[in-house]
């Protein structure tokens, strides 16, 4: 039986009970084994607790356990008979943008937590804005701690209504958003349906995660593949005089006979075959690592992009990007950094900061003189080499970049090309 894989992320403010929810999900799906339970029970007893603190299952670092907070994105794994799950658990404190962006970048769904007593707070709006910016396709609003509001349907309905307006204004379609009332502490509606919420007829959190369709590759998207490596053999090898271009299909599909263009150079050629170590494939879709053989002998190296000749990306050295600034040190116009796009790294000159997202009003407003950590802003970039790019909203792989500090090598920013965040008026909606 084949099983598919759902990558999802969790986000929420400090004290929303996110680690407890994740611990509950792992515990109730029996993904936690006896020695891990024993370790948590022992550690909880050391802290004077009568029942095991499930958050200790996931807070892995010494400092996290000592301070009772989650510091860094943690990855968790569990499975049910039909599906495997990779969970990026993103903490909600100071470095929230950095962590949420990291977790959301590979997620097909995000679970956003709110405390039923507080409802939608500033942090919820910020997290939702980041999830919208990264174009996470589906959202779950988990209204936690419903035991502390007496399982009150009215409280849940009011929060759900407020959040629905927020989600609409960020461009989420209504069917992409599901609200589930839960108590992570007591297990209500996490894995087992709760008898204490008879007014709630929707799925449990796990039930939803299991049934939501995993997005397969879009076969109508234009083909894109950054070349990672050129695989060659010499005349004396078992497979002699081989020359193939290795990469992971980033968008669309590729098949023998397809017309492709090699960018940024612009040479056109035809795909001779699509190979893997297990033999040739009739066609390969997004996500598949392959080796592409071409009919013509063209100079191609790491950093080039193979793309559909009929619908190629644009080639430019002037980029408009929405940046998530992730570093402690500020960004000022005129900075000279490195930019990584696909498999190519090139020097970049930072141009004007045109506008910054106000995460309270969810509108773009006047640009500051410099960007600080967690800022989201529109910025112009001038690259040393021309790049084959798409808008992030159209093709994620060729529409995303990293900015890197040339001195320390640290990752400073995530950049999304084009205008990935389409903000709508919260009152009128889409």
């Amino acid at each position: 039986m084949t099983r598919d894989l759902l990558r999802f992320a969790t986000a929420g403010s400090v004290d929303d009970g996110k680690s407890t929810l994740v611990g509950r999900l792992l515990y109730d799906t029996k993904s936690v084994l006896a020695d891990q339970i024993e370790a948590v029970t022992r550690a909880s007893a050391d802290r004077g607790l009568a029942t095991p603190d499930l958050s200790l299952l996931v807070d892995g670092l010494r400092a996290e356990r000592e301070q009772g907070i989650t510091i860094d994105v943690a990855y968790r794994y569990f499975s049910t008979p039909s599906r495997e799950f990779v969970l990026a658990d993103t903490p909600g404190h100071v470095q929230y943008t950095r962590n949420t962006v990291t977790g959301a970048s590979t997620a097909e769904l995000a679970v956003l937590l709110v405390d039923a007593r507080h409802g939608v707070v500033e942090q919820t709006r910020r997290h939702a804005a980041v999830l919208a910016l990264l174009r996470v396709p589906r959202l779950v609003l988990a209204i936690n701690k419903i035991d502390l509001v007496g399982y009150d349907e009215g409280v849940v309905a009011a929060i759900a209504k407020e959040f629905a307006g927020l989600a609409r204004s960020l461009g989420f379609a209504d069917p992409a958003v599901v609200t589930i009332p839960v108590s992570a502490l007591l297990g209500d509606n996490v894995v087992e349906p709760s008898a204490r919420t008879p007014w709630y007829e929707g799925p449990t959190l796990l039930g939803h995660l299991e049934s939501v369709p995993v997005t397969g590759p879009d076969v109508t998207a234009p083909f894109r593949m950054p070349v990672q490596y050129v695989i060659r053999t010499g005349p004396g090898a078992a497979v002699s005089d081989y020359r193939g271009y290795a990469g992971q299909v980033a968008a669309g599909t590729v098949a023998a006979g397809d017309e492709v263009v090699v960018l940024p150079g612009g040479a056109r050629t035809t795909v001779a075959s699509v190979q893997t170590a297990d033999g040739p494939l009739a066609a390969a879709g997004a996500g598949r690592s392959v080796t592409v053989l071409l009919t013509d002998d063209i100079d191609i190296s790491r950093g080039d992009v193979l793309a559909s000749a009929a619908a190629p990306p644009r080639v430019t050295d002037e980029l408009e990007a929405t940046l998530c600034w992730l570093a402690e040190k500020p960004l000022r116009p005129g900075a000279r950094l490195l930019l990584k796009h696909g498999t190519r790294t090139t020097p970049v000159l930072v141009g004007a900061i045109t506008e910054r997202l106000d995460t309270d009003t969810l509108t773009f407003g006047a640009a500051p003189a410099e960007l600080a950590i967690n800022d989201i802003a529109r910025v112009g970039l001038h690259t040393a080499d021309p790049l084959p790019v798409d808008d992030y909203a159209d093709v994620r792989a060729t529409g995303s970049v990293l900015l890197i500090d040339p001195q320390t090598g640290n990752t400073l920013a995530a950049g999304l090309l084009g205008t990935p965040l389409a903000l709508l008026d919260p009152l009128t909606g889409p």
Binding site: L5, D35, A43, D72, R98, P217, Q228, A277, G285, T411
Partner: protein, 300 residues
Amino acid sequence: MTAPALDALDALESESIHIFREVAGEFDRPVILFSGGKDSTLLVHLAAKAFAPAPIPFGLLHVDTGHNYPEVIDFRDRLVARLGLRLEVARVQDWIDDGRLVERADGTRNPLQTTPLLDTINAHRFDAVVGGARRDEERARAKERILSLRDAFGRWDPRRQRPELWNLYNGRHAPGEHVRVFPISNWTELDVWRYIRREGIELPSIYYAHRREVFRRDGMWLAAGPWGGPRGTERVELRTVRYRTVGDGSCTGAVESTAATLDEVIAEVTASRLTERGATRADDRLSEAAMEDRKREGYF
């Protein structure tokens, strides 16, 4: 219009191959850490697939505690010969002999591997050190990046990790620093076994049930050997056992098992109520943060 999503094992395989190709494209002197265990054997299999029909463009490094199982060394040497790989062996015994390391009172050599590992990385100027660690193994490893920077002393600082987005990996490092790379980060123990069955990957025979002379210590079955056992009242018995992990013989326990085939092993792993490290690794039982502390010092 969308096609069906990739099967979970196909998705994991493609992700790991992508990571291996990034390593080959971005680093000058990569090396694969190889213990002969199932995870590092899987790494070599994935690397071979990533670069086929060309050979794997880098070699293997085995940090040898000297407390080995002969079946594993035999397996290692056959694998290296079959794939035509370069193998570098760093022997903990050499570090003990010339005084750079001192044997521990408890006889275990697992923690002693860090110094020979870092010395060998420096001597060969390896800039990417590829390991078979998985995030599902242990809580500190759940926080690890796929490309993880180590300073000139080989240290990991969990509070200063680079954000890692999409599949854009940042491998930049200063001279003297190196990057640890974990291509099977997102695989679980069960994924590894299912894939081994699907691909028909050969493993050392000690992963399957066999008769062995063992003694009981700290709730684990340890093999009798020059590393200090049995002691005192510990009594050697002949049992039918298998190993779930391959590590230093002094602290890696066998589990009682009759699982002699891949299907039986998968059934056993699926039903197990203990993690592989919890069941059989004394080194992780030392404290709540045993793995984090070793990783900070430069351990795998």
